[in-house]
Symmetry: C2
């Protein structure tokens, strides 16, 4: 007997997470084993609250829904930051989820997200085993941070990297127009890993050597060394552009930022102000023109400049994950394995989702310069294939045409 | 006897100022009256310092130079913020400039910039008249701020407006994914005029009503009214997005920003922190999740999302300005006159450059809602034609291919 599926999205937005959703839907549409695919709104909380939309019906009513969805930012299904409790302490959520699975005749649950979402998938897999449920639990990775283990890289990273490198190149053009000496600081996302900040180095070309300095969270940050680095670069260049991760910390592990008070429910510190802190430092200590630019949330949602490689891989991971579940597999995450960088070749693999949860992949120390103020050529060449290609954003009345998300907006009223 | 030309760029960057430069160069290449076109580096200071590049030669050596130039951000020739002194007090700059004009057999000087640059053009025109020089002095407008008078709008504004509306739409997608109540504040450029901030309203579509609140510098800002507006909007929407101009002031004329200490050499206040100020206010007074996003310099240099209408108009203004000077005219600025909004039709006119200098065109009060927290449909329809069309950015290795600006970088060492 055929079964139905549920798909959900969780964590922070990326430009590619809807492409994975489109891949999941397409594979289920193509499947002989699965019938209807339900979208759970706001991650796993939609399953807990019986809050679904019928994605099979939406596909039937719109010819280009999946194409438009693949190129739309953030989560079509909404997100959540809900963490399942340990089932040994409180199994009420688990009971409700598996009751809903039974009620809707669910054969597979697909969860697209980062390592917090993989934690949920791992917990559901373990619980399914205990109760003898044959619902397949599948993780599909996404995070702009690129910090998941067991995958060469994560969907969403390539598009964010393309946005960052493009923005740094454009800021370089903006920076070099004045004869006045100046420093520009670009603050880039990445709480624990410097992959996104490293992507700034892709902006370098035959005429542009910015960013001349790059600081990642993997190396302890020192104000003294920073000022020494800036002073040294100012000897040879009038205009310095510096890329700095929001997550840089001093040698005692304290974040270099103005405000570090609040924490979100996963215990992550809410960061802001690294760029402004360093801007003020340079103004005070060196006394020259300095500005800081926080790339902020646009680096994760600027779908108009997505990487085609990234979007295609995200779609393919979603599609492949469904196919792999059809063969009876559960408790896995679809991951990307790189076969070759030049030319770039990769294939999909499947890893134990419990291996991925709650771990972080940092930039290896040998991919960072000995002084901790730049990245290696190997790191740049690792990222470069991931930003290749442009998606064909369709425009309507001067603006990108994205998928209608009124179901999220009316839900939130 | 044929003469040569000098062209220069000044003020702040836009995505369209190089398209006007390309238009000037193309018209001179096509001219029977003008021979070589020299680019003065760093605005009028290049003329003072004999710092030129030969643009005619560069065109000859590269087939697609003008095409690539038209789509490249900021100033190919660099910029300056140099203000000419009153010639009655000190005419040394003027003597040097007109000596250089004579030495290089200059028939026309084209200055592409905002109202500070039009001040320079007006002063040179007046001085030329006094000394009986027949060098034609021509202003070509640009400014993302759209605050020049005597023109329907300014080149650069449409591209910045397109970037802003696109970014607001993408931020809306990023905003509506969570069920948690939140406020997002977008801080947009515009020191004295709210045109750019008003462009955020173009992001509204059939599913998106953000930004729900818009504050321009033309209306005195009140913290009390602001908090009342936000609280009222939160009654109907979970997620509020607010567009606010960097230049908003209270009724006594004080900027609403954290730091307002330094001033640039034209006496403009250096602004920062309006968004952060309001973010903190909402956190303190309403106590919900709030974030602020400063669109910062990317709104003026993100050429990868330029408006084709804007780029074409900018090119056309540069081209037309050269043609008009060939007919013996001087002391004018090429300007855009709108014939019709639906369909959008405009033509080039020529106005006295002295009329334009040092004046500011604000958003009319009747194009702002009575409560001062939104813009009118008329204002939206005024802007809409200016963001239409996409330029065909060419990409190389995953990034936009922009004009090589190594002449600016080596100059600044």
């Amino acid at each position: 007997m055929n079964t139905n599926c549920i798909v959900a999205q969780s964590g922070g937005p990326t430009s590619a997470i809807n492409a994975s959703l489109a891949g999941v839907i397409k594979a289920i549409n193509d499947s002989d084993m699965y019938d209807t695919v339900y979208g759970s709104l706001h991650g796993v909380t939609g399953v807990l609250n019986d809050d679904f939309i019928n994605l099979t019906d939406i596909c039937k009513s719109s010819d280009d829904f999946l194409i438009c969805l693949s190129c739309s930012p953030a989560m079509f299904l909404g997100s959540c930051r809900y963490k399942l409790p340990d089932h040994e302490k409180d199994n009420s959520d688990y009971k409700r989820i598996f009751n809903t699975f039974e009620k809707l005749n669910i054969g597979a649950f697909f969860y697209i997200g980062g390592n917090d979402s993989m934690d949920t998938a791992a917990k559901l897999t373990a619980y399914a085993k205990i109760i003898g449920s044959d619902v397949r639990i599948v993780g599909i990775p996404k995070t702009i941070d690129n910090d998941l283990i067991c995958t060469d890289h994560t969907p969403g990273f390539g598009s964010a990297a393309k946005y960052i490198a493009t923005s740094i190149l454009e800021m370089a053009h903006d920076t070099f127009i004045y004869e006045l000496q100046s420093v520009t600081i670009a603050e880039i996302m990445g709480r624990d890993a410097g992959w996104l900040t490293a992507a700034s180095a892709l902006a370098r070309n035959k005429y542009n050597d910015t960013p001349q300095l790059i600081y990642l969270p993997e190396v302890a940050f020192s104000f003294e060394n920073f000022l020494r680095d800036v002073r040294e670069k100012l000897r040879n260049s009038n205009n310095i552009l510096i890329a700095v991760s929001e997550g840089i910390r001093d040698k005692s592990g304290e974040y270099i930022s103005c405000s570090k008070s609040s924490r979100d429910i996963f215990g992550h510190s809410q960061l802001s102000g690294v760029g402004k802190t360093l801007e003020q430092l340079i103004k005070n200590e060196i006394g020259i023109k300095c500005r800081s630019v926080e790339l902020n949330i646009l680096q994760r949602c600027a779908s108009h400049i997505s990487s085609k490689t990234d979007i295609n891989e995200a779609f393919n991971l979603g599609y492949s994950a469904v196919k792999h579940s059809e063969a009876g597999n559960t408790g896995f995450m679809a991951s990307i394995c790189r076969d070759s960088t030049t030319p770039y070749v990769a294939h999909v693999e499947y890893v134990d989702v419990a291996e991925v949860a709650n771990k972080v992949k940092s930039v290896p120390r040998n991919w960072i310069s000995p002084a901790g103020n730049d990245v290696s050529d190997e790191l740049v060449e690792y990222i470069r294939p991931l930003i290749q290609g442009e998606t064909e954003t369709s425009f309507e009345n001067g603006l990108p045409r994205y998928t209608n998300i009124s179901h999220l907006i009316s839900h939130s009223a």
